[in-house]
Amino acid sequence: MSVRKIIELDNIRRDFQVGEEVVHALRGVSFSITEGEFVTIMGTSGSGKSTLLNTLGCLDTPTSGEYYLDGISVRTMSKNQRAILRNRKIGFVFQNYNLLPKTTAVENVELPLMYNSAIKADERRQRAIEALKAVGLGDRLEHKSNQMSGGQMQRVAIARALVNNPAVILADEATGNLDTRTSFEILVLFQKLHAEGRTIIFVTHNPDIAKYSSRNIRLRDGKVIEDIYNTNIQSAEEILATLPQNDED
């Protein structure tokens, strides 16, 4: 079976003009990611992880280099075309959840589909409910974002990233705001999605997380300094079982 290349980066550079100086956030990054990989991207703060992820997520355009997302060249696209591409091919999970305030879980998850007129209201709601069930929040559909714990909010955010059935899920420090146990719960969820065949790119500065992914890319000063496939993926679920129970939930 030939594997589909979801992401192909060729010598990506990203320079930021800060006053007189030019900051080189990415200095020639090249790699490709195939369907079904769970890639962690690591590096110290300022190494260019977020810039890379924004580029992968079509939020940012590289200064030079080629980027193909699911076979489509992104570099030459207009702002609007990139917005549509994000809507159809990408699911974002942020460190601080970024849910709409005072809005129910279902409505939050429906959001990406609101910007896709091909999907009718019934289907939209149905898919939002399914996505919420997939992240284990089938019983919290009408809970508002301010009535949920951090872990629950991040699950809603993951459901929102799943709902458009994206080519790749991009997570930037998705467990950064959560305690150890909740972080593992989220990791379990990502591993489950991975097992279902989804492509995931997970940015983190926590080196321990590499054990649970299928591949780890390490950045330093805007360059890839290490790219290792993990043949011995550990189960986050087993670790979770050894952790003490939280009071909440």
């Binding site: 609007n80 917005a83 549509i84 159809r88 970024n98 910007y115």
Partner: protein
């Protein structure tokens, strides 16, 4: 992007921020409501003044003794005695451009009927006075030329006098009332007219033959004033000229010397009062305009703040695939919904307040359809315009910066 979804997006955003939506609306509600109410008050008083002026008399011309006093210069008391009964008689026989004419002499004192008394004045007039002032005798009759010729001690009284002298409701017709010891027989009662625009009770009148008042009450030969009616409104200025010519001749005033009498017409008074009420309407409109502007600034302020406050929301929407145009549309739809809802509530409030003032405070109120339309349109446009600018700003945000915004 389909409009139904954008509409739904905007509705959800509004529903999640009811307080903000309400505060924005408040500016529009106050703006629209105050414009409608103020204009209704202004227009109402204008119309009521016009009505009262036309009720005051028919193309009325008033001739007073003394030079034009509008300058405020004090006059010699003798100057106030220049209008003589002969002048009235000459005018009556010579002036061609007037339909009716009546002398007016006035005596003030106390009216007494049985145990009741009431301070009042008695106007000595001719029969024409009724036509000139548009008065009607409701019960009984007006005095006759014969009564005038014989200086008969008869009178016709207004409703206020009836109410005060005959509080028990007995008919005053045929009754004798005393004025400064002189007995008058009541032969008629006037139809009530109410208060005029200057707050004067038009029913506190006692009319008697001018001969009676001059001879039996005052023993004077000069008149307080002469009232006349021009043949038509258009002829009024010519009638004034004719009267002036006759009086100057009678008073032997040489060319180049000032009149020793003053002639005013109803039109003059009405235009004077109209100027006042126009001034008031303008003033009210200004106040209303200011509240409209304040309302608009309120809208702009809240819209602007909400873009800043909602930067992350905008960033998030963009990250899940909203284009600039989608964000712009969302904010515009929000602004339009708020403005139209606020405008409608403002119209309801404005009309409600106007009617409340009408029925509670008894002010004359007239709600003009165009004022409702204009204030609604202006506020809605203000809301949409002030909503557009921050929306444009939101649409141009960079998604990365927006989502990272703290």
């Amino acid at each position: 992007m389909n409009i139904t979804n954008l509409f739904k997006i905007a509705m959800r955003a509004l529903a999640n921020n009811k307080m903000r939506a309400f505060l924005t609306m408040l500016g529009i509600i106050i703006g629209v409501a105050s414009v409608i109410a103020m204009l209704a008050i202004g227009q109402g008083s204008k119309i009521s003044i016009q009505n009262q002026i036309s009720e005051m008399g028919a193309n009325m011309i008033m001739i007073h003794p003394g030079a034009d006093r509008r300058g405020g210069v004090r006059q010699d008391p003798s100057a106030m005695q220049t209008l003589k009964l002969e002048n009235y008689e000459t005018l009556r026989s010579e002036a061609r451009l007037i339909s009716s004419i009546s002398p007016n002499v006035s005596a003030s004192g106390q009216l007494i009927a049985g145990a009741n008394n009431y301070p009042s004045s008695v106007s000595g007039v001719s029969i024409d006075y009724l036509d000139i002032r548009q008065l009607k005798v409701k019960d009984g009759t007006m005095f006759t030329q014969n009564d005038i010729n014989t200086s008969a001690k008869v009178c016709v009284i207004g409703k206020t006098i009836v109410d005060n002298l005959f509080p028990d409701g007995t008919s005053p017709l045929g009754k004798v009332i005393r004025f400064n010891q002189v007995p008058f027989r009541v032969i008629g009662v006037l139809q009530a007219k109410g208060y005029n625009s200057m707050g004067m009770d038009q029913d506190a009148v006692v009319l008697a033959p001018y001969t009676t008042v001059m001879k039996r009450l005052l023993a004077q030969t000069y008149l307080n004033s002469i009232f006349a009616s021009a043949l038509s409104e258009e002829l009024s200025p010519l009638a004034v000229e004719e009267i002036s010519t006759i009086l100057r001749r009678e008073h032997k005033i040489k060319e180049g010397f000032e009149d020793d009498f003053t002639i005013r017409t109803q039109e003059e008074i009405s235009s004077m009062l109209n100027t006042t009420s126009t001034l008031m309407t303008t003033l009210l409109a200004c106040i209303a305009g200011i509240s409209l502007v304040v309302g608009g600034i309120g809208i702009m302020n809240i819209m602007y703040v909400s873009v800043t406050e909602r930067t992350r929301e905008i960033g998030l929407r963009m990250s899940v695939g909203a284009r600039g145009i989608d964000i712009l549309s969302q904010f515009l739809i929000e602004a339009i919904l708020i403005s139209i809802t606020g405008g409608l509530i403002g119209v309801i409030f404005g009309c409600g307040i106007s009617l409340l003032i009408k029925f509670v405070a008894n002010w004359p109120i007239f709600i003009q359809p165009w004022s409702v339309l204009v204030s609604f349109a202006v506020c809605t446009i203000t809301g949409v315009f002030f909503g557009w600018y921050p929306a444009k700003k939101a649409a141009n945000l960079d998604p990365i910066e927006a989502i990272r915004y703290e």
